[in-house]
């Protein structure tokens, strides 16, 4: 990577992290949301949801332990949407233009922005895992380290979904509706809160939807990585989804054919 590209990447990541640290409420919200699920929801549902031993687990686990990867995915999903919201805001406020008129290819600028958002999501994830550990919900020590590459892939994929959405949303006001239509179905139609075999017992159709949901694949990738294993199938599907979503997002921000000229027309 040339020094220019490297410096630009550093600059974009630093800006994103600084913005995140300046917005304390966002940091707090990012942690409170999964912690409520972990410490309240999981406690309530522990008895109702019996779990069998399925890979990567080799013994019975508590429900709290089961939903940790799903909540990690939830953090990254919300962060991806938050980044998307901030891109729509930046575009309306103008600061997105500073990025887009930089003397670098647009695909690089958008990918760097995605990496920056992923870095922020990983900070949130490790803060969450540390708090979970403080409540005695611990994972294999090596898993904390080996989960990092999986978190990068899943964070990029979920961030790319957000970026694609940001290129299609014309106004900030439309964002709340999109959040409801994207986040909740994505989260609940996945293996985040219950294993897929349980879903199959209830409905085969819902099971099939859950199985092809890229979020399910991201959660399974994280789940296996936290136990020092690679789920190749999940890695393949998550990477494929990343390539598709990122490609579409780059196309969305293409100055000749993308959504920006159409948006300008609307303005």
């Amino acid at each position: 990577m040339s020094p220019h590209y490297w410096r630009a990447l550093q600059g974009i990541v630093t800006r994103e992290v600084l913005r995140f640290l300046h917005q304390r409420e966002r940091f707090l919200a990012a942690l409170v949301r999964p912690l409520v699920w972990l410490l309240v929801f999981a406690a309530g549902f522990r008895a109702a949801l019996g779990l069998s031993i399925i890979p990567p687990y080799e013994t019975y686990i508590t429900y709290e332990t089961y939903i940790i990867p799903g909540l990690v995915g939830m953090i990254q999903l919300f962060n991806g949407m938050q980044s998307s919201l901030s891109m729509v805001y930046d575009r309306e406020m103008g600061s997105m233009r500073t990025l887009l008129v930089s003397p670098l290819p647009r695909w690089f600028l958008l990918t760097a922005k995605l990496l920056a958002g992923t870095a922020v999501s990983i900070l949130q994830v490790y803060a969450f895992l540390a708090i979970a550990a403080a409540f005695d919900i611990v994972l294999p020590p090596l898993g904390y380290l080996l989960a990092l590459p999986a978190l990068v892939v899943s964070g990029l994929m979920l961030g790319a979904v957000g970026m694609l959405l940001s290129s299609t949303i014309r106004q900030l006001e439309n964002f709340a509706g999109v959040m409801n239509f994207v986040i909740f179905p994505t989260f609940f139609l996945s293996s985040a809160l219950y294993p897929l075999w349980k879903m199959r017992e209830s409905s085969v159709t819902l099971y099939q939807i859950c199985a092809v949901n890229p979020f399910t694949q991201a959660v399974e990738l994280i789940r296996f990585a936290l136990y020092a294993q690679v789920n190749w199938e999940a890695l393949g599907w998550t990477t494929l989804a990343l390539v598709i979503f990122l490609g579409a997002a780059i196309q969305g921000y293409n100055p000749a054919r993308g959504f920006m000229p159409r948006r300008a027309q609307a303005e």
Binding site: P3, H4, G11, T14, G94, P103, A264
Partner: protein, 245 residues
């Protein structure tokens, strides 16, 4: 012979069926302050979006210092400093953090960037505010920071889209004078979009645009003479009214 800092040839751009820009051509030479004068809705912001490659025109060409924007966008953008009509600073970051971010996007090494930021802020009397969050600055100071930012990479061409909108009279005058000074002392080429005639000096070049078409292009003196007007205000109204009639 040196290439013009900005050369626009036969640029057209349409939204739906209508033309926002229709066969627009003009040049901005090195060391020249060119005012792009037009009423609201004339097509100035669309033209800026094309010059800065926020989007791309299917017809016509844009060259920056002889570099074609369509073929070599990154090289062309590297020679250009931009101040948009909308504020584009991060409100939650400090002045210095904002400028470091921009320097990084232009590949300027951190140590060099620190020196340039110090000098740029000093020139615009903003050195003492470098640690303040942009949110705490007034509109005039924010504009000065944006101007300092646009100059950090030492561009050959500076383009500004109605940069004095929303500023009070002293702040507006300060920015106008500073940019004219840059043309005189540093030989910088400037394209300054405005609808405020009093921002144009007698020795500037002026391009009058209305409804996406260029109505006049030349020195203020020549444009006034061609239109048999005593001053630019008269010329401007005469040209706009001709189109309306």
């Amino acid at each position: 012979m040196t290439a013009p800092a900005l050369e626009i040839e036969g640029l057209s751009y349409g939204y739906g069926r209508g033309f926002a820009l229709d066969d627009v051509s003009f040049r901005v030479n090195q060391g020249e302050f060119t005012a792009l004068l037009g009423p609201n809705g004339a097509g100035k912001t669309t033209l800026f979006s094309l010059i800065t490659r926020l989007f791309e025109a299917p017809r016509g060409a844009i060259k920056v210092c002889g570099i074609t924007m369509r073929d070599h966008p990154t090289k062309a953008l590297a020679r250009m400093g931009v101040v948009f009509q909308q504020p584009t600073l991060d409100l939650d970051l400090t002045v210095r953090q904002n400028l470091h971010y921009f320097a990084a996007l232009h590949g300027i090494a951190r140590r060099d960037a620190s020196i340039r930021i110090g000098e740029a802020l000093e020139r615009l009397d903003m050195a003492e505010r470098d640690g303040e969050k942009v949110r705490q600055l007034n509109g005039g100071h924010r504009r000065r920071v944006e101007l300092a930012r646009a100059l950090l990479h030492k561009p050959d061409l500076l383009v500004l889209d109605e940069p004095t909108v929303g500023l009070d009279v002293p702040a507006r005058r300060g920015i106008v004078e500073h940019v004219h000074e840059l043309c005189r002392t540093q030989g910088m080429a400037v394209l300054w979009a405005t609808h405020l005639i009093d921002e144009v000096h007698a020795d500037d070049r002026v391009v009058v645009i209305h409804k996406g078409r260029i109505l006049a292009d030349g020195s203020v003196t020549d444009v006034n003479r061609t239109n048999a007007s005593a001053n630019l205000t008269q010329t401007f109204h005469r040209l706009i009214n001709q189109v309306a009639a």
